[in-house]
Each structure stands twice: as structure tokens, then as C-alpha cells.
């Protein structure tokens, strides 16, 4: 079963390609070279997207755009926390300051946990690429070799909560794993996500909206195989070593298991790094009402986790109170920050209600919370009135108004429609200098971490991320390359560090693929992927000016907390950017990767892009 001759140990060398316009389904070959250079996941997805979009300026909602579901070489193997899939496409969210292309946008990549990626690999594929647009709502059915485009009219309009149950019932087996969109994505709400188990999301970057633009409601997959690997004996040793290592009850692991990311809510607020009141503050005075202590007491009933993960960072439960019984998971750091602290909402039941609604609609909760916070500030400053908000009294901390606005956004109606364009466009619509507090980079909203105190770690991360503002990017080239590698292997970011320190990715890669991987080669692959993303963006028209931070950070200091009085120094930021570009081998004026760097990474064929 494993020692058969296999030209791609660790992989199938197969990409499942579906054209929803023509109905064509094919299984293309992936060369050994492309797999070696781009690993899988985010890396392979970007490379495939770039190859399939030879011209810049493609409309993200056009049938031409490609939507990719990319597990990694670790996916499907029983390695701890090997649950992740990267959804890759051209972004419907981002835009440059200047470009000859009206529909210019960046690459978009978003990671999702659960069980989908491993299942796609069980079915015999290293990835799934979807182009075109169906004439009516469809879903994709994949069961090993059997691949069918099926009618989804009975599911169109369905929220993710109901859809998860219905799909399991209708497919007749709980062993199908599905990724799907909610009703928001069907209406092309740009900040729509792709969800799995109604509790996990490829949240950022509008991947769900692209899926909706293709009239694709769900992808359902079941597989009975498993990838072949090169050296089963060595792999088994490493697997045992990894399991033993991860079983050690370190304080860090204990924290993850007990609190998930929720624990960071109080810690972040305390240290002044939280998104509070549309990023005008870094500390939330009521954070303990929505943190771990309160959640454990009032909501949480059980821990649950993704494939082969021993952290189980997700916590589900039932919130009771003024909003009825809400059964859902969370709050997590981002959902608690963006719909909680950022909106000054300290009502835990109300917050859970908002999270549940946003998940059921299939919205990016990070962007939604950011947008609502922006509108709360605009309303507070009387730059917009109730009429603009369709009668919603959007005051700070107002749960009912937040719910009403979320519903409008999910329905893409009225004020929801303009809100869905994101804070960058909203500020243009509202004018009156509101762009000052539109907290985005390249049109993509910032997440729950505020910048003032952590300019390198967070400021550079947000400013330079290839998908627009991203808190997972990293503040240095090396940390960015590392998170790129993790995103390309199918491993959860939360355990990446332990793999690197305790086992090393290269040892596992060598055992799986049969080729000897060195740390240097793996780092280089990460760097290559990051650079090809950058070249994709550069080709669209993104320049140094787009690697910027919101105006607010340079002028508005916090009035409270440990970061009180701190402002980001513009000169310092530009200096950090200079150092960053130097470390990357990129031109300091344009941010373009220099030809020598591209050559070094075997990306010489991109040097013509100017």
C-alpha cells in the first residue's frame, strides 16, 4: 500500500479541475517540480492561480477567476493538527491607490480548519480548482473518482447552520465533509466567507463571495484512500515523536486547551494591543465580561477540535438571556474583539447572538466588526445620520443595532449594501475626512490586534501582507516566510512553532516525499511563495504607497491603558519599511522584488513584469 512505485511520494500529483460554465471535469497532473517549488496549500494555490490568470485586472467575480481549495502534503496524514486547507483566489476586497486596471486587486488566501482538506486528500486529490460560473445554483459532489456537478436549488438561500445538517442528511453519510457559503455570498457580499461545520471559516479576503459568484453553494467530499509516502518507517518514527512531544503538558498547551484564543482577549486588552472603539483605543474596560472567565461560567459546555489536533481550541456552548438560547461556539479572540471590544459590546449573550448570526449568514466577522465600528464612529461624530443607516440607531455598544446592521449586510440591502463595500469605499462615500478612521490596508480591514505598541510585529504585518491587512502575516520576512510555509503544508498555524522546534518540518517532508529537504530549501520555498504573491500584486498595480497604515495610527493616541499617549511615528514606520524591503531584496521605492531576488528564487520568468 505504501511501497508501490509512486512518482510523487507524499502527493497524488493530481489537481481536480472543474469548469462550472462548461461542466468539464478533469484531473490534471501536477509536476514534481511544481510541488517541490510550491509545496501545496497557499503556495501551490497561488502558483496555479497566477498561471491561470495570464492577464492582470481580472474581475474577481468574473467566471475567469479561479477558486482553489488547497490542502497540503501533510493533509490526510495523521500528523497532529494537519487539518488545514487554504482557499485561494483573486480578491474581491482589495484595491490599489493607483492602477490602470479598474478591477485591480490582490491575491486572496484564507485558511480553514475542520476536516475538509484531509478528506479531499483521501479522495485522491492534491487540490481542487474551480473556474467558470454555473447557470443555476449547484454543488460539487466528490466521492473518490466520482465527481458530479449537482443541482443545489434546494439549498440556495440556506444559512450555514441548517445547511450543514441538511447536507449530511441528504448525502446519507456523516463521512462527507463540506465547505459551503451562506446566503450573503449568494448575493455577492464581498466580505463573505467559506465555512465548514458551520463553526469554522475561511473568513478573510472574500473567498466566499467568489464562490457565490460562481453559483456554487457547496463542495462535498468523501474519500476512501490515503496518500502514499516514501519512507513509512521513518515517517512512523517521526509521527510517534510528534505525538509524544505534543502530549507534553506545557503551560502553553494547557492554555490553548483551556482557553483557545479567547484567553488572549483579556491579555490583549490589558497590554493595550486590542482593537477597541474602532481602534481609537487599545484597552476595553469591560473585557472581563466577554473573556474566558465569563464564557466558561455562562456559556461553554465542551471543547472540540479539528482533525488530529490535541489542542481542541474551539469551545461550544449555549448562551441564555435576553436573546433567547443561542447554541454556538466562541467567543474567540477575533470574534470577541471585533464584535465585542471594537464595538464596546460587553454583553456576552448579545455578542454570542451577533457571532451566530454572522456565521449563519457566512460573513467575515473580522471585516464585519471593523465596518460596524467605523459606522458607529461616523454616527457618533454625526458624519452620517439615522437615515443613512436605514433608521438603525447605531450607538456604541448597541447589540440590537449591531444585529440589525448584520442582517442588512447579510441581505445586501440598503445601508448593508454600501457597508459591504468595506471601510475604504465607505469613507469615500461618506467623505468628510472619514478616511482618517477607515481602518484598512489595501481595502482589507484590520483584525483584532491594534498597532500602536507593536509597530514592527503588527504594523509591518498589516502593512505588507499580500492579501491586504492580515494579523497572521508576521512583522519580519522570516516570520512571514514561516507562516507561508505553515499555510502551504496543511498544518495549523497554532502549532507551527512546536513542529519547527521539536520535530522540524523538513524531517517530515523528507520522509513523506523521499527527497531530502533542508531547512534552507524549505525557507526558500516559503520565500518563493511570498514573492510570487507579491509579483501577482505588483502586476495589478500595488506599490509601496499601498503598504501603508491607517491615518489614525499616526495621529490619534489612546486615552487609556498601558499604551496611552502612544502614536505611531511616521518616520519610524517608513524606516521599518525600508529595512523590511532590504531584507526581502525588494526595491525600496516601488516595493518591487529586484530581478536578482526573483532569479535566486527561480522566478526569473517574472522579471518582465514592470
Amino acid at each position: 500500500m505504501n511501497m508501490e512505485s509512486n512518482s510523487h511520494p507524499g502527493y497524488y500529483g493530481k489537481l481536480l479541475e472543474v469548469n462550472l460554465s462548461t461542466g468539464e471535469i478533469k484531473k490534471s497532473n501536477l509536476s514534481k517540480q511544481i510541488l517541490k517549488d510550491y509545496l501545496g496549500g497557499r503556495g501551490l494555490g497561488t502558483k496555479l492561480l497566477f498561471d491561470r490568470l495570464p492577464n492582470p485586472g481580472v474581475d474577481a467575480f468574473s467566471p475567469e477567476n479561479v477558486l482553489l481549495f488547497m490542502p497540503g502534503p501533510f493533509s490526510g496524514l495523521p500528523l497532529p493538527s494537519s487539518s488545514r486547507t487554504c482557499v485561494v483566489t483573486k480578491s474581491p476586497r482589495t484595491s490599489p491607490l493607483k492602477s490602470p486596471y479598474p478591477k485591480a486587486s490582490t491575491i486572496s488566501y484564507s485558511n480553514i480548519g475542520g476536516f475538509f482538506g484531509p478528506e479531499l486528500r483521501f479522495a485522491g486529490y492534491d487540490g481542487l480548482a474551480i473556474t467558470g460560473k454555473a447557470a443555476k445554483p449547484v454543488y460539487l459532489y466528490i466521492c473518490d473518482d466520482i465527481v458530479e456537478i449537482r443541482d443545489a436549488s434546494q439549498y440556495w438561500g440556506m444559512g450555514t447552520e441548517e445547511l450543514e445538517t441538511r447536507l449530511t442528511q441528504d448525502l446519507g453519510s456523516a463521512s462527507f465533509r463540506s465547505c459551503y457559503i451562506g446566503p450573503a455570498a449568494e448575493k455577492l457580499v464581498p466580505l463573505s466567507s467559506v465555512l465548514n461545520t458551520a463553526a469554522r471559516a475561511a473568513g478573510r479576503g472574500g473567498t466566499g463571495a467568489v464562490m457565490g459568484s460562481k453559483m456554487l453553494k457547496a463542495v462535498c467530499v468523501h474519500g476512501t484512500g490515503i496518500p502514499n509516502i516514501a519512507d513509512p518507517i521513518l515517517f512512523n518514527e517521526l509521527l510517534e515523536k510528534t505525538r509524544n512531544s505534543f502530549a507534553q503538558d506545557t503551560p502553553s498547551r494547557q492554555w490553548w486547551r483551556a482557553e483557545g484564543t479567547t484567553g488572549a482577549l483579556e491579555a490583549s486588552s490589558k497590554s493595550g494591543t486590542q482593537a477597541v472603539k474602532n481602534y481609537s483605543e487599545g484597552t476595553f474596560s469591560e473585557i472581563q465580561k466577554i473573556g474566558t472567565g465569563a464564557s466558561r461560567k455562562e456559556i461553554w459546555k465542551r471543547d472540540f477540535g479539528c482533525y488530529c489536533c490535541n489542542l481542541a481550541c474551539k469551545k461550544s456552548g449555549i448562551a441564555k438571556g435576553a436573546y433567547g438560547n443561542i447554541v454556538h461556539d466562541g467567543p474567540e479572540y477575533e470574534t470577541g474583539s471585533m464584535l465585542g471590544a471594537n464595538l464596546l459590546i460587553g454583553d456576552l449573550a448579545g455578542l454570542t447572538k451577533c457571532i451566530g448570526i454572522a456565521d449563519d449568514l457566512g460573513l467575515d466577522i473580522i471585516s464585519a466588526g471593523n465596518i460596524i465600528g467605523f459606522l458607529m464612529e461616523a454616527y457618533d461624530k454625526k458624519l452620517i445620520d439615522k437615515a443613512f443607516l436605514d433608521g438603525i440607531d447605531l450607538t456604541w455598544g448597541n447589540v440590537d443595532s449591531t444585529i440589525a446592521l448584520l442582517r442588512k449586510m447579510g441581505a445586501n440591502e440598503g445601508v448593508g449594501k454600501v457597508a459591504n463595500q468595506g471601510v475604504k469605499k465607505l469613507a469615500e462615500v461618506i467623505g468628510k475626512d472619514s478616511s482618517h478612521f477607515a481602518i484598512h490596508v489595501k481595502g482589507h480591514e484590520l483584525a483584532g490586534w491594534n498597532v500602536h505598541k507593536e509597530l514592527q510585529e503588527l504594523g509591518i504585518s498589516y502593512a505588507t501582507a499580500n492579501r491586504g491587512a492580515c494579523h497572521m502575516n508576521g512583522g519580519f520576512a522570516t516570520s512571514q516566510n514561516n507562516s507561508t510555509i505553515t499555510d502551504s503544508l496543511g498544518i495549523c498555524n497554532f502549532v507551527g512553532e512546536w513542529y519547527v522546534n521539536d520535530i522540524s518540518f523538513v524531517n517530515i517532508m523528507s520522509a513523506i516525499t523521499g527527497t531530502s529537504w533542508s531547512e534552507g530549501e524549505l525557507q526558500k520555498a516559503g520565500e518563493r511563495i511570498y514573492n510570487i504573491e507579491k509579483m501577482f500584486n505588483y502586476r495589478e498595480g500595488f506599490r509601496r504607497e499601498d503598504d501603508n497604515l491607517p491615518e489614525r495610527f499616526f495621529t490619534d493616541a489612546y486615552t487609556a491603558g498601558p499604551a496611552k499617549g502612544i502614536k505611531v511615528d511616521r518616520t519610524k514606520f517608513e524606516q521599518m519599511l525600508d529595512v523590511y524591503y532590504d531584507s526581502r531584496g525588494w526595491d525600496k521605492i516601488s516595493s518591487r522584488p529586484k530581478p536578482e531576488k526573483l532569479m535566486e528564487l527561480n522566478l526569473g520568468y517574472l522579471t518582465h513584469i514592470s
Binding site: 500500500m1 505504501n2 511501497m3 496524514l77 495523521p78 497532529p80 476536516f115 483521501f122 447552520e161 450543514e164 445538517t165 449530511t168 456523516a174 463521512s175 461545520t197 458551520a198 463553526a199 474519500g223 476512501t224 484512500g225 490515503i226 509516502i229 513509512p232 518507517i233 515517517f235 512512523n236 505525538r243 505534543f246 502530549a247 459546555k301 465542551r302 471543547d303 472540540f304 477540535g305 479539528c306 482533525y307 488530529c308 489536533c309 490535541n310 481542541a312 474551539k314 461550544s316 456552548g317 449555549i318 438560547n325 447554541v327 454556538h328 461556539d329
Partner: protein
């Protein structure tokens, strides 16, 4: 005499009704699939603590690996096999509930009852029979017809853990307790699995994943 007999049999009749009714009530409340009779027998099985299980499916991977070992020269290691090929399965429901199931060791073994193969004159075994030591339903593949009646019985009235093999149709998925070296118990990262002696009449015994799921959803989310 006749009147006494009639009274005795009437008492017996009423007692049986009471047992049946009480058994039914107790069955539904505690969650057992079969009717209760007075029975002190114990059974040693894998027991799942649903308050600790997180649905990670590590158990599936180590079970399937252990039962499909690979040998290279003198080295034997667990196989790398699709996790659905093991004898333990995690059923995920929404709202988030994970029902992890192995063979329940049903006291009345409807799987064995359904096997149509004539019992061996010496051993008394049909093709599917209880292992004398472990009590695990065990299949003699030489005598098994591949009729799938055992799987049907298991699926229709119990856990549904028995799976007919896609090619041979012979039953698979029945926990054999790994020769006492329980892999799932060893590797569960949350210590949610225990191999221990329990009453036949225990919570969730012989129940389908959907039934258990319903109960757990009520238990956790109400």
C-alpha cells in the same frame, strides 16, 4: 389447584408487564437499546467519556493503522490507512457534538443472531461468534457467506459499527480490543477513552450515533 395456578400465572403475567414497562421506561431514560433483565454480568469494552471527547479522530487513525500493519523485512509498523477503515468512528453532528462509537458488545448480539451459518457441532460457532476471552463478535472468514445480515441487524437496531467490506461483503469494523493493547485508549490526546469493565446495562449501550447525538445535544445545549 387450578385457581392457584391461574393466580400464579396472572401474577407472573403482571410482573412481566411491570418488568417490560419499567424496562422500557428505564431503557429510554438511561439510554439502552435492549430490554433490561436482571443480569449482573460485566463486560470489558472501550467506554467513551463524551465530556472529554473533542472529535479529533486520532482514535480512528491509530485503530486503522494498527489493524492494517505493514511489514518491511523484519520491521512491522502501523499502516497508513484511511481512518474510516478502523473499528472506531467519530460521528459529528451540528450543533457541535461528536459521537465516538465502537462495538457495544450488545448482550443479545443481534449480529450473531442474524448470522445464518449453521453452528459448528463442536464449538457452537456460526461464522460470526463471540470470542471466548474478549467477548468480541469475531468472524470466521472461511465460513462467512458475505450475506451482510449481521451488518444489517447492527445498522437497523444498534450502533451500525459493522461494515460490509466493499468487495467481499464480509463484516468489518468490529472492535477486537487489540489483543488487550488498546490503541485508541493509548493515543487519545484527551483521555476520553477507557478500557474497563462495565455493566452490560450502561448508558448509551447499543445505541445508534443519531440517538446518542440527540441525547448529547440535549445534555450539552439546553
Amino acid at each position: 389447584m387450578e385457581k392457584e395456578d391461574k393466580q400464579a400465572s396472572r401474577r407472573e403475567f403482571l410482573r412481566n408487564i411491570a418488568y417490560g414497562a419499567g424496562g422500557f421506561l428505564l431503557t429510554s431514560a438511561v439510554g439502552i437499546a435492549w430490554n433490561i433483565e436482571k443480569d449482573d454480568r460485566k463486560v470489558k469494552v472501550v467506554v467513551v467519556d463524551f465530556t472529554k471527547c473533542t472529535g479529533c479522530r486520532t482514535c480512528e487513525t491509530v485503530c486503522s493503522g494498527y489493524h492494517h500493519k505493514q511489514t518491511f523485512g523484519t520491521t512491522t509498523i502501523p499502516g497508513l490507512v484511511n481512518p474510516y477503515k478502523g473499528n472506531i468512528l467519530v460521528h459529528h453532528f451540528t450543533p457541535d457534538i461528536d459521537v465516538t462509537l465502537v462495538c457495544s458488545h450488545c448482550k443479545d448480539a443481534p449480529c450473531i443472531a442474524a448470522c445464518p451459518v449453521t453452528p459448528d457441532l463442536i464449538t457452537g460457532h456460526k461464522a460470526l461468534y463471540r470470542d471466548a476471552e474478549t467477548g468480541c463478535p469475531t468472524n470466521d472468514t472461511d465460513r462467512c457467506l458475505g450475506c451482510r445480515e449481521c451488518a444489517r441487524a447492527c445498522r437497523n437496531i444498534r450502533t451500525g459499527t459493522i461494515r460490509p467490506n466493499a468487495e467481499t461483503h464480509k463484516p468489518e469494523g468490529i472492535c477486537d480490543q487489540c489483543n488487550g493493547n488498546l490503541q485508541c485508549v493509548k493515543y487519545c490526546p484527551f483521555k476520553a477513552l477507557e478500557y474497563k469493565e462495565v455493566d452490560y446495562e450502561r448508558a448509551y449501550a447499543g445505541m445508534s450515533p443519531e440517538e446518542i447525538g440527540k441525547r448529547l445535544i440535549r445534555q450539552f445545549y439546553s
